[in-house]
């Protein structure tokens, strides 16, 4: 039996640092885009106009009904066949953002629907338009109310970002694999990668808790 030897990790610190950086960039961008994408999608699903509602409902159905892995394959390997070449990182961010936009949209939709009609009426009676009412009054409250559920999505996104390694984004999981291929020490490298994922997750949760606490104060 070969014993465990964690000291090999020391010479791969730079590889892990780079991997963690890419995971960070990937997640930060995807979380941001998935909120920015989720809000209009939620509003579209709540729209009275079928022409707005139907296409978005269809998109939701497609992105929720198929595996993220397949979507990533499609974006990275499939799209070039129709002339659209995207870099691995762009493909990764696009895939994660689209996939989680759909999940965020569902959460935000519930948040918007839960806001009392009195809030709409008070805002409209002041002379705000529908869009201004959404932007200033409804969406901020909806986001506060669904912050815990959105947080769950962000944490899931962070973990699923490991899938992006299969389209050659040099993020944390791929960095670990690189180390393993050179040292044949999967236990040490996967454990180290796991610890870094956990650390990033811890930071993310800490940030989310603070946002939630701030939101609770103004409720």
């Amino acid at each position: 039996m070969v014993g465990l030897k964690f000291t090999v990790l020391l010479s791969y610190i730079d590889v892990f640092a780079l991997g963690a950086m890419w995971t960070g960039i990937l997640c930060f961008a995807s979380i941001a885009f998935s909120i920015v994408g989720g809000i209009p999608m939620a509003m579209a699903v709540l729209s009275r106009h079928e022409l707005v509602r139907r296409p978005v409902a269809f998109l939701t159905w497609v992105f929720r009904g198929t595996p993220l892995l397949l979507q990533l394959y499609m974006i990275y390997f499939g799209l070039p066949k129709v002339g659209l070449y995207l870099s691995p990182i762009t493909s990764g961010i696009l895939g994660l953002s689209l996939h989680y936009s759909v999940y965020n949209a569902d959460v935000i939709r519930a948040g918007i629907a839960a806001i009392d009609t009195g809030q709409h009426e008070a805002s409209r009676s002041l002379g705000l338009s529908k869009l201004q009412t959404m932007r200033k009054v409804i969406i901020p409250q909806a986001l506060r109310n669904v912050a815990p559920a959105l947080g769950n999505n962000f944490i899931a996104l962070l973990k699923e970002s490991a899938l992006v390694s299969i389209i050659t984004v040099p993020e944390l999981t791929l960095s670990a694999q690189l180390g393993i291929s050179e040292t044949f020490r999967p236990f040490e490298f996967y454990l180290a990668a796991g610890a870094i994922y956990y650390a990033i997750n811890f930071l993310l949760e800490f940030g989310l808790k603070r946002v939630e606490m701030k939101a609770a104060l103004s409720r």
Partner: protein, 247 residues
């Protein structure tokens, strides 16, 4: 200032307004009383177009509110008209994610492009008037019902409306908090604000009203000076209602 001409409104098969007409001159205070379900709130909401009337006309300051426009054009029109009307609701409807100051300055800054400094000055003046200058940076959740409602009045006043509509603004308050909200409305009355008030507070109605309208079953049963309505009602329905209220 506010003119309602033969307004009809139905919800499904129920006709809640059956041809209402009234005219509120500038600077006058009209109080609408009546049993619940009589249509008084619906009438008030129709003036602000929170309810779409099925038939008839609503005029505010010479502008037809329910102008027959569609889509974006109507949206633009109604947003403009609503800026001239302040409305205060039974359940306050303050924006819970904004503090008192932000609640008040949001609309003037956004819609009138008022600079923050001027908006804050305006808000502080209003807060002084309603004795809440020390609560400017409190969130609604930290206020009592009476304080919330006074902030809601200040929020509506910040748009410098020509008319104020009050929809049962003291109905959700503990009895001991009603007085402070009524006081704020009386202050407005002294400044000759045009007001339409829907209320269950008969004593308050008698005190501030220039005219009292008694509504029942979707029609105006009787309209007159407060002393006429409260002391010598001519209609049987009015007498029955008042007897019930003052029992």
């Amino acid at each position: 200032m506010v003119k309602v001409v033969n307004v009809h409104k139905r919800f499904g098969t129920v006709e809640v307004l059956k041809g209402i007409s009234m005219e509120v001159p500038r600077g006058k205070i009209f109080v609408i009383i009546g049993p619940s379900g009589s249509g008084k709130s619906t009438l008030l909401r129709s003036i602000n177009h929170l309810e779409t009337v099925d038939q008839g006309e609503v005029w505010v300051d010479g502008i037809l509110v329910n102008i027959p426009l569609k889509g974006r054009k109507f949206e633009k029109h109604i947003n403009k008209v609503r800026q001239e009307m302040g409305m205060v609701f039974q359940h306050f409807n303050l924006f819970p994610h904004m503090n008192v100051m932000e609640n008040i300055i949001m609309a003037p800054m956004l819609l009138k492009k008022m600079p923050r400094k001027s908006a804050e000055r305006l808000a502080n003046n209003l807060l002084n008037k309603i004795d809440l200058h020390d609560k400017a940076y409190y969130y609604p959740v930290q206020l009592s019902g009476g304080q919330k409602q006074r902030v809601a009045i200040a929020r509506a006043l910040a748009m410098e409306p020509k008319v104020m509509l009050f929809d049962e603004v003291t109905s959700a308050l503990d009895p001991e908090l009603v007085g402070e909200v009524n006081k704020a409305m009386k202050q407005l009355a002294e400044e000759h604000m045009t007001m339409i008030i829907v209320t269950h507070e008969m004593r308050f109605a008698a005190e501030v009203a220039d005219r009292v309208i008694f509504m029942a079953d979707g029609i105006i049963v009787e309209e007159g000076l407060p002393q006429e309505i409260f002391q010598n009602p001519t209609q049987e329905r009015t007498k029955r209602f008042l007897a019930e209220v003052f029992k």
